[in-house]
Protein backbone atom coordinates (compact mmCIF):
# COMPACT_ATOMS: atom_id res chain seq x y z
CA UNK A 1 0.00 0.00 0.00
CA UNK A 2 1.48 3.33 -1.08
CA UNK A 3 1.72 6.31 1.32
CA UNK A 4 -0.68 8.25 -0.93
CA UNK A 5 -3.33 5.51 -0.76
CA UNK A 6 -2.79 5.22 3.00
CA UNK A 7 -3.31 8.97 3.33
CA UNK A 8 -6.53 8.81 1.33
CA UNK A 9 -7.89 5.90 3.38
CA UNK A 10 -7.03 7.66 6.65
CA UNK A 11 -8.71 10.84 5.39
CA UNK A 12 -11.83 8.84 4.45
CA UNK A 13 -11.80 7.21 7.90
CA UNK A 14 -11.59 10.63 9.51
CA UNK A 15 -14.47 11.84 7.32
CA UNK A 16 -16.49 8.79 8.42
CA UNK A 17 -15.93 9.59 12.11
CA UNK A 18 -16.76 13.23 11.40
CA UNK A 19 -20.00 12.05 9.74
CA UNK A 20 -20.93 10.20 12.94
CA UNK A 21 -20.29 13.35 15.00
CA UNK A 22 -22.24 15.46 12.49
CA UNK A 23 -25.19 13.06 12.65
CA UNK A 24 -25.15 13.25 16.44
CA UNK A 25 -25.10 17.05 16.21
CA UNK A 26 -28.02 16.99 13.75
CA UNK A 27 -30.06 14.86 16.14
CA UNK A 28 -29.12 17.13 19.03
CA UNK A 29 -30.09 20.42 17.39
CA UNK A 30 -32.75 19.56 14.79
CA UNK A 31 -34.71 17.21 17.06
CA UNK A 32 -33.76 19.12 20.20
CA UNK A 33 -32.39 15.98 21.84
CA UNK A 34 -29.53 16.92 24.22
CA UNK A 35 -27.04 14.07 24.65
CA UNK A 36 -26.93 12.14 27.92
CA UNK A 37 -23.63 11.95 29.88
CA UNK A 38 -22.70 8.53 28.48
CA UNK A 39 -23.60 9.78 24.98
CA UNK A 40 -21.19 12.71 25.45
CA UNK A 41 -18.46 10.34 26.60
CA UNK A 42 -19.04 8.17 23.51
CA UNK A 43 -18.65 11.27 21.33
CA UNK A 44 -15.38 12.03 23.15
CA UNK A 45 -14.23 8.47 22.43
CA UNK A 46 -15.03 8.97 18.72
CA UNK A 47 -12.90 12.12 18.83
CA UNK A 48 -10.04 10.20 20.51
CA UNK A 49 -10.29 7.40 17.92
CA UNK A 50 -10.25 9.93 15.10
CA UNK A 51 -7.22 11.65 16.57
CA UNK A 52 -5.05 8.62 15.69
CA UNK A 53 -6.09 8.99 12.05
CA UNK A 54 -5.36 12.73 12.21
CA UNK A 55 -1.85 11.89 13.47
CA UNK A 56 -1.40 9.61 10.45
CA UNK A 57 -2.41 12.45 8.13
CA UNK A 58 -0.04 14.94 9.75
CA UNK A 59 3.02 12.81 10.50
CA UNK A 60 2.60 9.82 8.21
CA UNK A 61 1.35 6.36 9.14
CA UNK A 62 2.77 4.73 12.27
CA UNK A 63 1.65 1.69 14.23
CA UNK A 64 1.47 3.88 17.36
CA UNK A 65 -1.03 6.20 15.65
CA UNK A 66 -3.25 3.24 14.79
CA UNK A 67 -2.89 2.14 18.42
CA UNK A 68 -4.32 5.51 19.52
CA UNK A 69 -7.33 4.85 17.29
CA UNK A 70 -7.83 1.34 18.66
CA UNK A 71 -7.50 2.48 22.30
CA UNK A 72 -10.01 5.29 21.71
CA UNK A 73 -12.42 2.89 20.00
CA UNK A 74 -12.10 0.32 22.80
CA UNK A 75 -12.82 3.02 25.41
CA UNK A 76 -15.87 4.04 23.38
CA UNK A 77 -17.04 0.44 22.99
CA UNK A 78 -16.76 -0.01 26.76
CA UNK A 79 -18.93 3.06 27.40
CA UNK A 80 -21.45 2.16 24.68
CA UNK A 81 -21.52 -1.44 25.91
CA UNK A 82 -22.31 -0.26 29.42
CA UNK A 83 -25.21 1.82 28.09
CA UNK A 84 -26.51 -1.14 26.07
CA UNK A 85 -26.39 -3.29 29.23
CA UNK A 86 -28.29 -0.63 31.21
CA UNK A 87 -31.20 -0.97 28.80
CA UNK A 88 -30.78 -4.59 27.71
CA UNK A 89 -33.51 -6.00 29.94
CA UNK A 90 -36.94 -5.54 28.29
CA UNK A 91 -38.98 -2.95 30.14
CA UNK A 92 -36.01 -0.98 31.48
CA UNK A 93 -36.57 1.79 28.95
CA UNK A 94 -34.12 3.44 26.59
CA UNK A 95 -32.56 6.79 25.91
CA UNK A 96 -33.05 8.86 22.78
CA UNK A 97 -34.44 7.87 19.45
CA UNK A 98 -33.86 4.71 17.42
CA UNK A 99 -32.41 4.50 13.93
CA UNK A 100 -33.30 1.42 11.85
CA UNK A 101 -34.44 -0.33 15.02
CA UNK A 102 -31.30 0.31 17.07
CA UNK A 103 -30.66 3.13 19.52
CA UNK A 104 -27.66 5.39 19.03
CA UNK A 105 -25.63 3.69 21.77
CA UNK A 106 -26.12 0.31 20.04
CA UNK A 107 -24.98 1.83 16.74
CA UNK A 108 -22.04 3.43 18.57
CA UNK A 109 -20.96 0.02 19.89
CA UNK A 110 -21.13 -1.45 16.37
CA UNK A 111 -19.21 1.48 14.85
CA UNK A 112 -16.50 1.29 17.54
CA UNK A 113 -16.12 -2.42 16.76
CA UNK A 114 -15.86 -1.59 13.04
CA UNK A 115 -13.19 1.04 13.79
CA UNK A 116 -11.12 -1.57 15.64
CA UNK A 117 -11.58 -4.04 12.77
CA UNK A 118 -10.77 -1.46 10.08
CA UNK A 119 -7.68 -0.28 11.95
CA UNK A 120 -6.46 -3.86 12.37
CA UNK A 121 -6.91 -4.40 8.62
CA UNK A 122 -4.89 -1.23 7.92
CA UNK A 123 -2.11 -2.55 10.17
CA UNK A 124 -1.79 -5.61 7.91
CA UNK A 125 -0.10 -3.50 5.21
CA UNK A 126 3.53 -3.04 6.25
CA UNK A 127 4.45 -1.15 3.09
CA UNK A 128 2.74 2.02 4.29
CA UNK A 129 5.30 2.45 7.08
CA UNK A 130 8.25 3.04 4.73
CA UNK A 131 8.79 6.66 3.71
CA UNK A 132 5.32 7.92 4.50
CA UNK A 133 6.37 10.70 6.85
CA UNK A 134 8.03 12.90 4.25
CA UNK A 135 4.97 12.64 2.01
CA UNK A 136 2.68 13.60 4.83
CA UNK A 137 4.46 16.81 5.82
CA UNK A 138 2.30 18.83 3.45
CA UNK A 139 -1.33 17.88 3.74
CA UNK A 140 -3.05 17.43 0.38
CA UNK A 141 -6.55 18.87 -0.06
CA UNK A 142 -8.53 15.82 1.05
CA UNK A 143 -6.44 15.30 4.18
CA UNK A 144 -6.51 18.99 5.00
CA UNK A 145 -10.31 19.07 4.69
CA UNK A 146 -10.66 15.97 6.88
CA UNK A 147 -8.28 17.39 9.51
CA UNK A 148 -10.05 20.78 9.55
CA UNK A 149 -13.59 19.35 9.70
CA UNK A 150 -12.61 16.95 12.47
CA UNK A 151 -10.95 19.72 14.51
CA UNK A 152 -14.02 21.91 14.10
CA UNK A 153 -16.33 19.10 15.27
CA UNK A 154 -14.13 18.29 18.28
CA UNK A 155 -14.19 21.96 19.29
CA UNK A 156 -17.93 22.20 18.61
CA UNK A 157 -18.61 19.22 20.85
CA UNK A 158 -16.54 20.83 23.60
CA UNK A 159 -18.52 24.08 23.35
CA UNK A 160 -21.84 22.22 23.18
CA UNK A 161 -20.94 20.24 26.30
CA UNK A 162 -20.04 23.41 28.20
CA UNK A 163 -23.41 24.92 27.23
CA UNK A 164 -25.29 21.79 28.26
CA UNK A 165 -23.51 20.90 31.48
CA UNK A 166 -21.76 24.14 32.53
CA UNK A 167 -18.72 23.38 34.66
CA UNK A 168 -19.86 20.19 36.39
CA UNK A 169 -21.09 16.71 35.57
CA UNK A 170 -24.04 16.57 33.18
CA UNK A 171 -27.52 15.69 34.52
CA UNK A 172 -28.50 12.06 33.88
CA UNK A 173 -31.54 13.02 31.81
CA UNK A 174 -30.81 16.45 30.33
CA UNK A 175 -33.77 18.46 29.07
CA UNK A 176 -31.93 21.57 27.93
CA UNK A 177 -28.77 23.63 28.20
CA UNK A 178 -27.80 24.81 31.69
CA UNK A 179 -26.00 27.91 30.38
CA UNK A 180 -28.86 28.95 28.08
CA UNK A 181 -31.60 29.05 30.69
Amino acid sequence: MTPALTGRLNALGLFAISAVLLFAFADQFIRNDPPCPLCILQRAAFVLAGFGLALNLRFGPRASHYAVTIIGALAGATIAGRQVLIHIVPGTGSYGSALFGLHFYSWAFIIFALIVLGTAVMLLFDGQFSGGEAAARRLPGLSLAAFALFTLLAFGNGVSTVLECAGGLCPDNPTGYLLLR
Binding site: L41, A54, I79, L85, I86, T151, A154, F155, N157, L169
Partner: protein, 51 residues
Protein backbone atom coordinates in the same frame (compact mmCIF):
# COMPACT_ATOMS: atom_id res chain seq x y z
CA UNK B 1 -15.96 19.38 33.32
CA UNK B 2 -17.29 16.84 30.82
CA UNK B 3 -15.99 18.99 27.99
CA UNK B 4 -12.37 18.52 29.12
CA UNK B 5 -11.65 15.45 26.90
CA UNK B 6 -12.79 17.39 23.82
CA UNK B 7 -10.59 20.38 24.62
CA UNK B 8 -7.60 18.12 25.34
CA UNK B 9 -7.99 16.61 21.87
CA UNK B 10 -8.46 20.05 20.27
CA UNK B 11 -5.20 21.12 21.95
CA UNK B 12 -3.61 17.88 20.76
CA UNK B 13 -4.77 18.58 17.20
CA UNK B 14 -3.32 22.09 17.42
CA UNK B 15 -0.01 20.67 18.65
CA UNK B 16 -0.03 18.11 15.85
CA UNK B 17 -0.77 20.81 13.30
CA UNK B 18 2.20 22.78 14.63
CA UNK B 19 4.44 19.73 14.28
CA UNK B 20 4.78 18.81 17.98
CA UNK B 21 4.03 15.11 17.81
CA UNK B 22 5.04 14.08 21.32
CA UNK B 23 3.14 16.95 22.90
CA UNK B 24 0.05 16.05 20.89
CA UNK B 25 0.23 12.41 21.96
CA UNK B 26 0.66 13.49 25.61
CA UNK B 27 -2.39 15.76 25.35
CA UNK B 28 -4.37 12.92 23.78
CA UNK B 29 -3.33 10.61 26.65
CA UNK B 30 -4.54 13.24 29.12
CA UNK B 31 -7.85 13.37 27.24
CA UNK B 32 -8.19 9.58 27.41
CA UNK B 33 -7.41 9.57 31.12
CA UNK B 34 -10.02 12.27 31.73
CA UNK B 35 -12.55 10.30 29.70
CA UNK B 36 -11.98 7.19 31.82
CA UNK B 37 -12.27 9.17 35.08
CA UNK B 38 -15.53 10.75 33.89
CA UNK B 39 -16.83 7.32 32.89
CA UNK B 40 -15.98 6.03 36.36
CA UNK B 41 -17.90 8.92 37.92
CA UNK B 42 -20.98 8.11 35.83
CA UNK B 43 -20.88 4.31 35.95
CA UNK B 44 -21.98 4.02 39.57
CA UNK B 45 -25.27 2.08 39.33
CA UNK B 46 -25.35 -1.70 39.51
CA UNK B 47 -26.46 -3.24 36.23
CA UNK B 48 -29.67 -5.24 36.38
CA UNK B 49 -28.27 -8.15 34.41
CA UNK B 50 -26.84 -11.54 35.37
CA UNK B 51 -23.69 -12.12 33.34
Amino acid sequence: MMSIPFFFVVAALAAAWSGYRQASVALCAAGLLTLLVLFRLHATDMLGVAL
